[in-house]
Amino acid sequence: MGLKEKLHQFKEENKDKKWLPLFSAFHTFLYTPNDTASAGTHIKGADDLKRTMNTVIMALIPVLIFGMFNAGFQHNIAVNGNFTSGMSFFSGEFWNLDNFIIGAAKILPLVIISYGIGLGVEFIFAILKGHEVEEGYLVTGMLVPLIVPVDIPLWMLSVAVVFGVVIGKEVFGGTGMNIMNPALIIRAFLFFAYPTWMSGDKVWVTGAVDVAGTADAISGETILGSLAQGKEMIYSVSDMFFGFIPGSVGETSTLLILLGAAFLIFSKIGSWRIMLSAVAGALAMGLIFNMIADANIISEGSKFYSLMSTPFWHHLLIGGFAFGVVYMATDPVTASQTNKGKWYYGFLIGFLSIAIRVFNPAYPEGVMLAILLMNVFAPTIDHYVVQGNIKKRMKRLKAKKA
């Protein structure tokens, strides 16, 4: 008897044990279960939940690995203080083992905690409710370490993950029922609960605090943080595009995020409508702000000036905008379902992201709040799109009759 049969037999024998969902969760990782549905419509498709989730995770892996290199790279800059702007993407200064080891030592614990705690909560709920463990956390668990600062203490992350999974997801009924993206709830929780650990200059670069105050000290702030305070920037556009900048773990490299986006669009997992319209929305808002700044409507001393006068397309490169739009706004559960609704949904996310970013320097990461807000409004958008369609057809019906 092979392993497959043995496992299946084991499952049959322990049918009414409480911990069975736990076993099934790991079982289904290895094999497709033999059980088939006995009634109802049968739809056979290869793109089940697990495959969808795995595709997104594959799209996230390059970003994660880049994040590890970048964490080490930023640390070495902070300690040695020799940053040269405008490196090429394949520069040996960036892609070396030294950087990777430092970064991996920081980021792997984040990944492990995120998955360990999150899946733990999922398992507890699965056993309490007596249903199968759902795969929904696989992507969330990967997103979470990518959207937090490198130096976030592990216990804070754990608290936030428990909060996010329970309040953001399980109270609504688990995977597929949540109104808002759980990963963003986790980040929003951290952001409001521990603001000093989610912004400012001490958490984005490992070891930045240790050298602060010395002659070599660099500001360990993100670009958005510096811009909000009207500081000079030392990073060139190519640095921002390639991602050699401080920031949350996975959000810095716009290039790799674009590759991920291409992969998601190609595999038809992510909606290109949302991505495209979000970019359009961001550019529109950026252009409006540029015009305001150019027309001298606000003075140069204004606290909004430096962010408003940032060239509009830079907004796509800095901060978590690209990451949020590609990996989080496209979440099929929380986004708009209708194609037309997706255009509105995406556009408003882009538009609001930049607006929040500029007008509220205390919350530099506008994209998080914009996506959460639009998550709430997505069903409303869908409702009006559907109603609009019904109305249009009714009219056509009437015209035919008459």
Binding site: P109, V150, D151, I152, P153, L154, F192, Y194, V203, T206
Partner: protein, 214 residues
């Protein structure tokens, strides 16, 4: 029980658990969200509401046979407003700092749905003694929720209880392995009060499934 027969005792215990005005009837939420960032404020608010509701219930009950039904809401408002002004003045005289923390919410006891609800539903139809017990019971049910929410919000949000430091100093070190307590600023914001309240309701309803509405 000597003082309370079974029916009277129920007037006090019922609103405490299975018919709690906050978690079951979902009344008086606004004040539960607004003033529970500190435990002390929650306790004072609970006492204030208890005084207003117990005395108000007795007054209304005494007048129940002479209040014309057409203007009963106005009469009730006058009674509760008078009592709230007294409470407000007492607070200002003896606990000025606290009355500043509670600010407008003492005045807003007037609009607390629990009070008008009990006047309408109970005091207008029952004897003064029973109304008094009902007032105490409902205010206690309201107060206990306020105190639970206030306890968690102050403990986790400020690391203090009644103003005394309970949890340690915030961490200084950075890094993924930094341990120590850091105040959870989210706890001090109103949304968290709603979530804590929601969790209490969740726990209560999973213990007593009769409370779950269809």
């Amino acid at each position: 029980m000597g003082l309370l027969n079974k029916k009277d005792a129920k007037l006090i215990t019922d609103p405490f658990l299975d018919n709690n005005p906050v978690t079951v009837q979902v009344l008086g939420i606004c004040s539960a969200l607004a003033i529970t960032a500190e435990l002390k404020a929650s306790i004072v608010m609970a006492i204030a509401v208890m005084a207003v509701l117990a005395i108000g219930n007795v007054v209304i009950s005494l007048m129940r046979n002479i209040i014309p039904s057409k203007i009963r809401i106005i009469v009730q408002l006058v009674v509760v407003a008078a009592l709230v002004i007294i409470v407000d003045l007492v607070l200002k005289a003896y606990a000025y700092e606290l009355s500043k923390t509670l600010s407008v919410f003492v005045g807003l006891i007037i609009t607390n749905c629990i009070i008008m609800g009990r006047f309408e539903a109970f005091a207008l139809a029952n004897s003064p003694y029973q109304s008094f017990l009902d007032g105490i019971g409902n205010a206690a049910g309201y107060g206990i929720i306020l105190i639970i929410v206030g306890f968690f919000r102050e403990l986790l949000g400020s690391g203090t209880l009644l103003g005394y430091k309970v949890l340690g100093d915030p961490i200084e070190k950075t890094g993924v392995y930094a341990f120590g307590y850091e105040n959870n600023g989210f706890m001090l914001l109103a949304p968290m009060a709603l979530i804590v309240l929601g969790i209490i309701i969740w726990v209560q309803r999973s213990r007593n499934t009769n409370l779950i509405e269809e």
